[in-house]
Amino acid sequence: MVEIVFLTPFITGLLAFVLPRTLGRQLLVLTGVVHLVLSLLLWKNKPDAFFTGYFSVTPEGMLSLLVISLLFFLISIYTKTYLEHSNLPSENIFTGFMLLFLSTMTMVTLSDHIMVLWIAIEATTLASAPLIYTHRSGASLEATWKYVLICSVGIAMALLGSLFLTLAMDMAKVDVPMSFSALTPVAELLDPLWLKAGFVFILVGYGTKMGLAPMHTWLPDAHSEAPSPASALLSGVLLNCAYLGIFKTNKIMVAAGLHDFSGTILIVFGLISILAAATFILKQNEYKRMLAYSSIENMGIIAFGTGIGGIGIYGAVICMIHHSLIKSSLFLSSGNILMGYKDRLIANTGNMAQHMPKTFVAFFAGFAGISGFPPFGIFIGELFIIVGAFRAGHYVAAGIFIASLCVIFAGFANQVMKICFDPSAAAAPEPARFSEKASLVWPQYILLLTSLILCFFIPDALYQTIVDAVNAIGGGLQ
């Protein structure tokens, strides 16, 4: 009964629309706990789906599922206090859609049927759109509009791609259920032309959702306009879900022996994304947008690693996990900054080290982690990816990769130094009245701590799952 995992939040979400505010908040946390428990159970005894062929438990799915429920649990704790601080209009809708969002994302991780996956991903768009529009401002409206339209169009492309996959089956007279697990073994039989076409469309489609340049355009707007917990979810989990779609399709490509084709495309898109991120992180003047672009960068890194193959894929998966942990913590901290300084512009923040020491620690640690410093896991991921790139002989690509990482770091560090240390903008409203409640900083700390621990020690079950996932798309550790 895999389906329970995403049905529970669905039901609670529907409940939350009708419940009063306070109860809704409780429900949020409660669902977080339940969901975490459920996914842990799912890890423990991998059950079969009720609708086999539609849903199944795959290693990559399990990974993202665990990340999702851990993140959601911590974010829900943060959100509870966050909501008490900032009185959002129509809070029920916010809570409800948070939960629906969770359920749809869970569905993504568990779905096995190509079309069901598409449905789930489209559903995530629809469930998260209201979250972005929470603030009811013109800007947020614009962000939502762009988000919905661009993602819908993109995902329509993915639908087309999925159709091409079926076409590839028809052409080759292959008759199996349209599920990834069923297609992968017979991948060699499929018609390569239409398979490629399908991959291209799916890549562009889900790539739009994942935030690969040049389809990333919706991402900074949405992330900067959504309330911070929502941004944390969007960036920490949603992008992974989209990546999951590409990952699963890439599985088929690899099985069909087309990994050169898909790999090259992934590398190119990865590099473009990183360069795009570099372009906008330099001279960025809003910290949430900056974080959003850094998400684009990391998605680029992940795509790059996946394209590299070999140990690069392992690095990519590690980067994916740690990016979720660290980036969500960063977005939560940015929420604190926003509550403290009441301003989105970097220029109007400053000297956080003094004003909000606790948040400063979380924020700066997150920054160090996201830019690949130990003891946080992205470091090891990037090491593997770079090394793997050389191993695979992509010297130029590796060169561009490294150079743009340096540029991004320079830009990012510059802004972060301003936010954290620069007292020149002391004219900004003293965030004295903002008290750093434990529940507003501890979620970040726990997230970072998890990343820190995972940098040095990965439990065997987790490790085994990662390896399975990596091996599934031709990755390896040597």
Binding site: M157, A197, T208, L383, F390, V407, N414, M417
Partner: protein
């Protein structure tokens, strides 16, 4: 090996505890200093035993299920461990009276925390025996030292310094990543072994990537730009550690990579020598041009890195031209200079710290006459200066002597090695002369003459721990200078770990040289004693008066009239004008009765200048041109999606 890790744990624990009980300022400071110095002492003793016993220890921890964190102590590592622990020990002791005057105790506690982290990570860097371990500790080292640099983050220049340092260390790390990548391509694992199997071209690429990466950490020209900003920014005991030890990890990296890659081709040697010459000469020229004492010392670190590189380069030339003696002399001279520079540079930084601590200014031209008010500091500083000028009978001379001997061995060779040796020797001579000018300037302006401003008047030297550390280091400089044998054998052990292919290095010829140095030192000291005796003999019951300096006929001399540091260096800087453009600002004197005027001069660092114009601006410009992509128009955005698909369809 367990002792080693126990020591590290002790050090880190010290930092951590001080962070835990940051509220009780003195206690947290005390516990930190106590534990850190205890750990350093333990580590020092352990490393010494390893070095003398020339053991090789090897420890492996499982990491991420299938990888491994490996630590290995061989001669080279042990030697660098000795240097690290020695300097850090004294720095920690020094810090007890130096720190703890800031208003926020947490800041000091954090400073100690990262200090402990820095020491531990440095120790791990020099013991790391596979790529993951190395990069892990390397990056932690960069990160922790970054936090130490921005200790006083409320000053804009310190923030800038921290930023520069952060970016440089990250970029450097990226270069090292790339180098490891190339190696990994061929070896297929993260171990340090089996690198010799690489094809030549790969070796060349890898070496130059590493050279840039490690060079930027070591402060090699032109990647030194961060250094003169970062080192002054940190608290003085940290500057001592950074300048004395941390930049040496870059040297260690180059040595280790050279050893692992096993590069016979001569070009590497020439390259290293050239880099050393440039760093050495320009470093000391810029040092001459500085008016901030700590910046000056930082630049002189660039110079000394240059000297070390020259030594290494001569060693590599010796290897490539099959001249064992030259090779050993070059390498061991370089390694010896690493030790010596660690000692006198940290001594000088501690002295500068004392000056800064008591007078509150770092500007040379604001000081003067401090020797009268701070005798111990002054004498220690003068000893340090003598040592850093490479004058006998101090340790600086001992180090340079071996590099000279090695280079002269190269004179016997032909063509390229001969030319490189000439370059090396002449530039060593020039560097020596310039260093002498530079440090007579510091000593003369800061410690002698009369106080130039209020800041330098009626200061007292207090803080026994600070004086203790300086005294120890000064004593060390003299002892090594007179009795270099023991320490030089340490260096030989370190060099033999490079396994240059000579079975085991015979000690006798080198003991002969060290013996000569000791002998000469004794002769000289004897002569000095005799002359001093003669002098006192002639001064017995003679009238000795004190009066003002003779103004050469000028009757109202004021302290303002003294020669300033800028004027002292003016001519020499002028000689190097193309490399060190000097800019002066002073309003013209007008009217019959001219009003008060002023003069300011500043020596620009060409590397810094060109980094800005040649790297930073173009990059910014390029990326600015791309910003229109995020144009805000949704039609365009949808267009991108279509475009992406159409482009991709061509490749199907």
């Amino acid at each position: 090996m367990n002792q080693f890790f126990a020591a590290l744990v002790l050090i880190v624990a010290g930092g951590f505890l001080s962070l835990v009980c940051a509220r009780q300022q003195t206690f947290s400071k005390g516990i930190a200093v106590l534990l850190i110095s205890a750990g350093c002492l333990w580590g020092l003793v352990y490393a010494m035993t390893q070095l003398l016993g020339a053991h090789n220890h090897f420890t492996t921890f499982q990491y991420l299920n299938i990888f491994a964190l490996t630590c290995k102590i061989d001669g080279l590592s042990a030697f660098f461990l000795v240097v690290i622990f020695m300097v850090c020990l004294l720095a920690a002791i020094y810090s007890f009276h130096y720190m703890g005057h800031s208003l926020s105790p947490v800041k000091d506690a954090a400073n100690y925390f990262f200090f402990g982290l820095l020491i531990a990570s440095m120790a791990l860097v020099v013991t790391a025996a596979n790529m993951i371990t190395f990069m892990l500790s390397w990056e932690i080292m960069s990160l922790s030292s970054f936090f130490l640099v921005i200790y006083n983050y409320h000053l804009p220049e310190n923030r800038r310094a921290g930023y520069l340092y952060f970016v440089f260390s990250h970029v450097g790390a990226m270069f090292i990543f790339a180098g490891f990548g190339i190696i990994y391509k061929y070896t297929g694992n993260f171990g340090f072994g089996a690198m010799t199997a690489l094809p030549e071209t790969a070796k060349v690429w890898a070496f130059f990537l590493f050279f840039v990466g490690f060079g930027s950490k070591a402060g090699m020209f032109p990647f030194h730009v961060w250094l003169p900003h970062a080192h002054p920014a940190a608290p003085s005991h940290i500057s001592a550690v950074m300048s004395g030890v941390m930049i040496k990890t870059g040297i260690y990296g180059i040595l280790r990579i050279y050893m692992l890659l096993d590069l016979p081709a001569p070009v590497f040697g020439y390259f290293v020598v050239a880099a050393g010459v440039v760093s050495g000469i320009l470093g000391v020229v810029y040092a001459l041009g500085q008016t901030d004492i700590k910046r000056l010392l930082a630049y002189s670190s660039v110079e000394n890195i240059g000297i070390i590189l020259i030594g290494m380069g001569m060693g590599m030339v010796g290897v490539s031209s099959h001249n064992p003696l030259m090779a050993v002399l070059g390498f061991s001279g370089a390694v010896f200079h690493v030790l010596n520079h660690a000692m006198f540079k940290s001594l000088l930084f501690m002295g500068a710290g004392m000056v800064l601590h008591k007078t509150g200014t770092r500007s040379i031209d604001a000081l003067g006459g401090l020797l009268k008010s701070m005798k111990i500091t002054g004498m220690a500083f003068i000893i340090g200066s003598l040592a850093i000028c490479g004058l006998p009978p101090f340790n600086g001379f001992a180090g340079e002597f071996f590099i000279y001997m090695g280079s002269f061995k190269g004179i016997g060779l032909d063509q390229a090695p001969f030319a490189m040796s000439i370059v090396a020797i002449v530039s060593l001579a020039v560097i020596g002369g310039l260093a002498l000018a530079c440090f007579t300037r510091v000593v003369g302006i800061v410690f002698q003459g009369e106080p130039r401003t209020k800041a330098a008047q009626n200061v007292k030297e207090t803080g026994s721990t600070m004086l203790f550390s300086m005294g120890m280091l000064a004593a060390g400089c003299i002892i090594i200078g007179i009795f270099p044998r023991f320490f030089f054998t340490m260096c030989l052990t370190a060099v033999s770990a490079l396994n240059l292919g000579y079975a085991r290095i015979p000690v006798t010829p080198f003991e002969l040289m060290t013996g000569h140095i000791t002998f000469a030192a004794f002769v000289f000291l004897l002569v000095v004693l005799v002359v001093a005796g003669v002098r006192s003999f002639f001064y017995r019951n003679k009238p000795v008066f004190r009066s003002g300096t003779w103004g050469c006929g000028f009757t109202q001399p004021t302290v303002k009239m003294q020669y300033t540091g800028s004027s002292y260096a003016f001519d020499i800087i002028g000689f190097f004008r193309p490399a060190a453009p000097l800019t002066e600002y002073h309003p013209p004197v007008t009217g019959r009765f001219p009003q008060k005027t002023h003069y300011k001069s500043h020596v620009a660092d060409i590397a810094e200048r060109h980094m800005d114009s040649a790297v930073v601006r173009p990059v910014l410009y390029l990326f600015d041109k791309l910003r229109w992509i995020q144009h805000g128009d949704i039609h365009l955005y949808i267009g991108y999606i279509l475009l992406a698909i159409i482009l991709l369809l061509f490749f199907i």
